[in-house]
Every structure is written in C-alpha cells, then in structure tokens.
C-alpha cells in the first residue's frame, strides 16, 4: 500500500497569477489536419543545412540532454482568436549551437511532418528566448497541438508557430518563404504589423 501510482497529468489553468487558456481552446487550422506520430521511437529531429555538424536527434535526446525552460506566451492567430499557455521546452538556439551554424547562415527554416514549412531570421532565434515546446500547461503536447514539438514563436503571428517539427534547416536564402508566406502572408510575421504582405 506504500507504492504511489502516477495518474495521467491534468493541465493547469493558472500559473504565477496568470489565467491560462485550455489546451482545448485552440481552433484546428493546420493544412492537412492533426498529425499522429504514433511511433515516437522512430521519430527524428534533423538539424541540417548550413551547419558544421548536422544532427539527427531522437525525442529522448532532446528531452534528456537539453535544459528545460518554461514560459507563459500568448499565441495570436490571424483568424482573430488567441490563447495564453504555459509552454515548456528547449531553447532552439541551444539545440542549434551543438550543430555549429556556419557564418553565412541567415535564416532558420522549420519543416513539419505534414509538409508545412515556415522560416524565421537566425538573429530572431539567437537574440530571443525562443523555445520549441514539448509540453503545454504541464501536459505533453497532444497530437492535435503538435506532438512532439511546437515552436513558440513569440511576438509573431500564429502561422509562425509550426507544429509537428521534424527538421530545422539553416539557410542563407533570405527570400525563402514558407507555406502561408508563399500565399501572401507576411514573411516576418510580426505581431505588431498586419499579416498580409504590404
């Protein structure tokens, strides 16, 4: 009777005095519907492109070998809704540092399991505490929300918050455009500007 059995975690709805949205408050608006990566043992997170040392991380590699960070950040979707969530993850710049980006790398291109892509300037990733989350509100990301990893691209519109990340590619192509960016959305995705290209 002394043994304690761990039950399924339940999401928290308040953190440090901030009311949090629920995991269920998101609208499903991915390009091909929720992706289910059932076999996490075969999942790989690739770090490729303009790096000295390309990597092929397993899910456990990322979770076990990098410092974990928590942050309350609000996601603002171009559709007009927003959610405030406690995100937990690893810093993208720490993940990339081990791969030693080359000096001519300017852009970080994120690829997802469903073929979705988006990009952000390397400076933005390096100069801000941008995390790649594996938990939200203290529970592991559900498949619908981007398991195993979702980018927390704070101060950027929701289409920059790529889910189901499979590859982080460093590039010198400053004109690279991701899925929605090729369809007219702003390439910077700055929250304080409109989301359509000027």
């Amino acid at each position: 009777m002394d043994e304690t059995e761990e039950l399924e975690p339940v999401e928290i709805r308040e953190y440090g005095g901030t009311d949090l949205s629920s995991v269920d408050d998101f609208r499903e608006n991915s390009i091909r519907g929720p992706q289910h990566i059932d076999d996490i043992a075969s999942y790989r997170l690739k770090i490729t492109g303009l790096v000295d040392n390309p990597k092929n991380h397993t899910y456990e590699d990322v979770i076990d070998n990098y410092q974990h960070y928590k942050k309350v950040v609000t996601l603002d979707c171009v559709e007009g809704w927003s959610v405030t969530i406690l995100w937990e993850g690893v810093l993208v710049r720490e993940l990339m540092a081990e791969s030693s980006p080359l000096p001519n790398a300017k852009v970080v291109i994120f690829h997802a399991y469903d073929g979705y892509t988006t990009s952000l300037p390397l400076d933005y990733i390096m100069n801000n505490d941008i995390i790649m989350a594996y938990k939200m509100n203290e529970v592991t990301l559900p498949a619908e929300r981007g398991f195993p990893f979702q980018l927390v691209a704070e101060s950027r519109w929701g289409y920059k918050w790529i889910k189901w990340i499979t590859e982080i590619e460093l590039s010198d192509d400053v004109n690279y455009r991701g899925y929605w960016e090729t369809r007219g959305y702003s390439n910077t995705g700055d929250l304080d500007k409109g989301f359509f290209e000027e």
Partner: protein, 84 residues
C-alpha cells in the same frame, strides 16, 4: 410616377446587393475558418488568403448597404402608417 418607379428599383437593388453581400460574407468567413473544405469545394479558387482579403474589405460596403436597407425599410413603413 417615374420617380416612384426609380425609388422602387433603387430599393430592390439595395436589398439584393445586401443579400449577396451577406452570402459572400458567410462564404469567405467559412473560407477562413474551414479553409480546407472550402478550398476543395471551390476547386482551389477560394483560398484562405483570398477569403481573408475579401472578408476584411467587405465591412464598409456591408455597413453602408445595411444602413440603406434599414433606412429604406423605415421610410416605407412610415409612408404606410401615414393617413391619406
């Protein structure tokens, strides 16, 4: 007589334009929130970004037409209520 006919035609145009605008508003709204379905149904013609652009630019004509619609309807009711 001609003036009354013109007024009647104007009212009809306003009412029909408003009806069409409401339908476009609805379709483009779905084109944003249910973009996968709408893109498929329209054979890729109404994309999410196009739906956004149309939807976001409709509010001024919508308010003008709605205002005209209400105004014209109130005038008609008032005229009917007036004793001969």
């Amino acid at each position: 007589m001609k003036n009354i006919a013109n007024q009647h035609l104007f009212k009809r145009i306003v009412h029909w334009l408003l009806a069409i605008l409401v339908i476009i508003y609805l379709v483009t709204g779905f084109g944003i929130t249910e973009f996968r379905t709408v893109e498929t149904l329209t054979l890729g013609l109404l994309t999410k970004s196009l739906a956004f652009k149309i939807h976001n630019n409709l509010w001024i004509p919508f308010i003008i037409l709605l205002g005209l619609h209400v105004f014209l309807t109130l005038i008609k009711k008032r005229k009917k209520a007036m004793p001969d």
